[in-house]
Symmetry: C2
């Protein structure tokens, strides 16, 4: 689902990943983290797609909200598992959305 109801400025966390072949437990953990993220202060929405690589973009009101989510204990544990077991490579970028426009048929 595309997040199309936001008014800049706000923040986007762009998380790009390459997974290992064996990703046992990953789908469940990712789903759990999405549900947990939705409950965090400042959460605005999430978009996700995966083919050769995965790209998940989550949207937040402020940088402080992103830091708080980063420091969430369950999220920290899931990230550690991710580095140990699931991610062959990842890149995380924190960015400020300055302009946005869209279209819906």
């Amino acid at each position: 689902m595309i997040v199309d109801n936001l008014k800049p400025p706000y923040f986007a966390v762009i998380f790009s990943t390459v997974l290992h072949e064996n990703i046992e437990g990953y789908i469940e953990a990712a789903k759990k983290m999405e549900i947990l993220a939705e409950k965090q202060p400042g959460y605005l929405g999430i978009e996700s797609a995966r083919s050769e690589i995965g790209i998940t973009v989550s949207y937040w009101k402020t940088l402080e909200d992103i830091t708080q989510w980063k420091n969430n204990i369950a999220h920290t544990e899931a990230r550690n598992l991710g580095r140990e077991k699931w991610y062959k490579q990842y890149q995380l970028r924190i960015s400020k959305v300055e302009r946005a426009y869209g279209y819906k048929f």
Copy 2:
């Protein structure tokens, strides 16, 4: 492929799309635009994934580089075709990457 060689600050264009069922010509046009984007001044890289939705993130040195790419004639024509034929929905966001970190196994 994940773009992992950039040093903030730089800019990210986050382009999220939902396609129509019939996307005749889309794959070719998208590939052509990627090749053309690579030749633009200020281009830094691109990441792309598609499952239920598509997310393409292109990276640029400056906002002016993004505007120049937006005004490129072939790119403008492809965008018009996209709106007419391929995209059921899209959202384009221009953001400034302020922090980034990554990991490669």
